[in-house]
């Protein structure tokens, strides 16, 4: 009897020891992940959940949130007089700026990849703007494009051209922001450059022997090979376009200040001029931090999240037809 009890006790001990070891391992994993888990929960998870909750409330930061059901969403979709304009402007900036940025960054990268001399110099020159803080860069652009005193219009005048009003004109304010966006395209450009330099040389040689000229080599070798990078830059560009805020906010403030020549805080300068730079995130900011209508601002941000997610999924789904991953079986 005694011997059989000892025989069964031994495997039990071993099972227990194994369980303890597994638990210790799991605890270590959790411990090592803790900094990220805490940061993610505190600064992303919690605000996200709270935003969703607040979007169903009336909340002005002073009194506690009051549950109002879907009233915020109903107002957003059916009544808000400005949101239509904001959506239109946002779609405009995405439709115009993202393709231009991708094409421009690709073009510059292509030239840098082919250049024989001064590559390092030009690469630095084209990348440098990406390092400039957006606020400073925007200030500089508003100054450079000042319709009366800015160097661009002064130069144009010398050439006999009447320059546009740039940030002061409702029809030129968005193109001015696009110029600013193209100037700061260095990040995407560097990624494109790396991808282009990574295209295997023998593919070009083979295509050349098969009779392909420069444009055909671009179409049949370069573009398919770097297609994952094009997809990446389009997705990143669209998301950045949906969240387009800093440049629009600073440009509108500074340009309207230039126009009135006084820091008149009573004027609502967001979207200046004539709501032409009123993008969705600017409108969201206005509701949250000017009108302290946090419930409504939360509803707007939840909608923005859903839209950004949907668009990204659609782009990636659609990309399967034109993006080719090296080494992937399909």
């Amino acid at each position: 009897m005694a011997s059989s009890a000892a025989a069964t006790a031994q495997p039990l001990d071993r099972t227990r020891a194994r369980r303890r070891a597994a638990w210790r391992r799991r605890r270590l994993v959790l411990l090592l992940m803790a900094p990220w888990l805490i940061g993610f929960s505190a600064f992303f998870g919690y605000p996200l959940v709270m935003s969703v909750y607040l979007s169903f409330t009336h909340y002005d930061l002073l009194s506690s949130p009051k549950w109002i059901g879907t009233a915020n969403y109903r107002y957003l979709f059916t009544q808000d007089p400005q949101v239509g304009e904001a959506v239109k402007n946002t779609l405009w900036i995405i439709a115009v700026m993202v393709p231009l940025q991708v094409v421009f960054a690709f073009g510059v990268a292509l030239m840098l990849a082919r250049a024989r001399r001064g590559v390092g110099f030009f690469r630095t020159i084209f990348y440098l703007p990406a390092l400039a803080p957006p606020v400073a860069a925007t200030l500089a652009f508003v100054y450079i494009l000042n319709p009366a005193t800015g160097p661009v219009n002064v130069l144009l005048k010398h050439l006999g051209i009447d320059g546009p009003l740039w940030f002061q004109s409702p029809s030129w304010s968005k193109p001015s922001l696009v110029l600013l966006g193209l100037w700061g395209v260095g990040n995407i450009m560097i990624i494109f450059l790396a991808a282009i330099l990574d295209v295997p040389r023998h593919l070009y040689e083979s295509a050349e022997l098969d009779g392909a000229g420069p444009l055909q080599r671009l179409r049949w070798v370069t573009l398919p090979t770097i297609s994952p990078v094009i997809l990446f830059s389009v997705v990143i560009g669209v998301i950045a376009g949906l969240q387009y805020f800093t440049q629009a906010y600073v440009a509108a403030n500074v340009a309207s200040g230039q126009a009135s020549q006084a820091g008149d805080q009573t004027v609502n300068n967001l979207g200046y001029p004539e709501a032409s730079t009123l993008f969705y995130p600017v409108e969201l900011y206005q509701h949250g931090f000017r009108y302290f209508n946090m419930g409504y601002a939360s509803a707007m941000s939840v909608l923005l999240l859903v839209v950004a997610f949907t668009i990204t999924v659609l782009i990636i789904r659609n990309s399967r037809r034109w993006v080719h991953y090296v080494g992937a079986a399909k």
Partner: protein
Amino acid sequence: MAEVRYVQATRLYPGTDAPAVDALDLDVHDGEFMVLVGPSGSGKTTALRMLAGLEEVDSGAVYIGDRDVSDAPPKERDVSMVFQNYALYPYLTVAANIGFPLRIAKVKKAERDKRVKEVATLLGLSEYLERKPGQLSGGQRQRVAMGRAIVRVPSVFLMDEPLSNLDAKLRVQMRADIAALQADFGITTVYVTHDQAEAMTLGHRVAVLHEGHLQQCGPPRELYERPANVFVAGFIGSPAMNLCTVPVSNGAASFGGVDMPLPQSVVANGRTSLVIGVRPESLEVAEEGIPAKVDVVEDVGADAFVFCSTELGGETTKLVARSEARKAPRQGDRVTLRPRADEALLFDPASGERLEL
């Protein structure tokens, strides 16, 4: 169809002193299968790329047919090439890869599909037309590369070590396929390899290059039996020819104690030494001859190669003899080796040139 001529063609890579290809003179006849062979750095691939237009011709000229193509871009030369790593477009299907040159040449889709199907049938690729290169084996990829090269029937067909990424068995099989394909199409072909077995089996003629210089060009048998110099003698043949510097006295060369009588033409100018070349099959294990110790015996089936060391003129020299496998000595045995004097080749020790007997 066209002949190819290199006339004093030279390529000097920027920043280097010695030309990669130095004043190459070579004629490839219409419909001929020419193999360029040599060790790494011999300039064989550079010579091929000069013909393709992928490498500049710094001086001299390259002709395809009657046309000097030295400065013509690759697409105007009507050549197609199979690369060592195949250079297939990974994002295109097999059908699109093979049809690529036709697509660039704006051949109508119906005609294109027809020709792709023909080529695919010829190369046994019909089942794989809708696959991507990543889903194919090495041998299949190699065939797709071949298909892309022959689909538009170029005037010259270039191959840069096309079999070197395949395993041994597949290589032998593809070698036969390439030879058959070239014979069928009769397209002038220039083929680069470092593998002398490929060179000997494929080439109508073989050009041996060494350090950018053409050493000899001729049919495989001529290269084997009448190598122009010590380099060709040592490079062609496996195992390599035994090459030994031996003293000359009294009208005979003394090869490890074996006196080999020399013809008058060789002795006349008063040489005191010679390089003697004996193929392994011309060196027998015999009752008397050069005493040697067996280092290794390589049994290759019917025959065995006996690798020995011996003392020649106070230096240890390695010799290889061929023997019947069943009669081969064992490792460590002491043997005597006898060269067949009438099959030995003689070379000038200073210039390395072979001496006509």
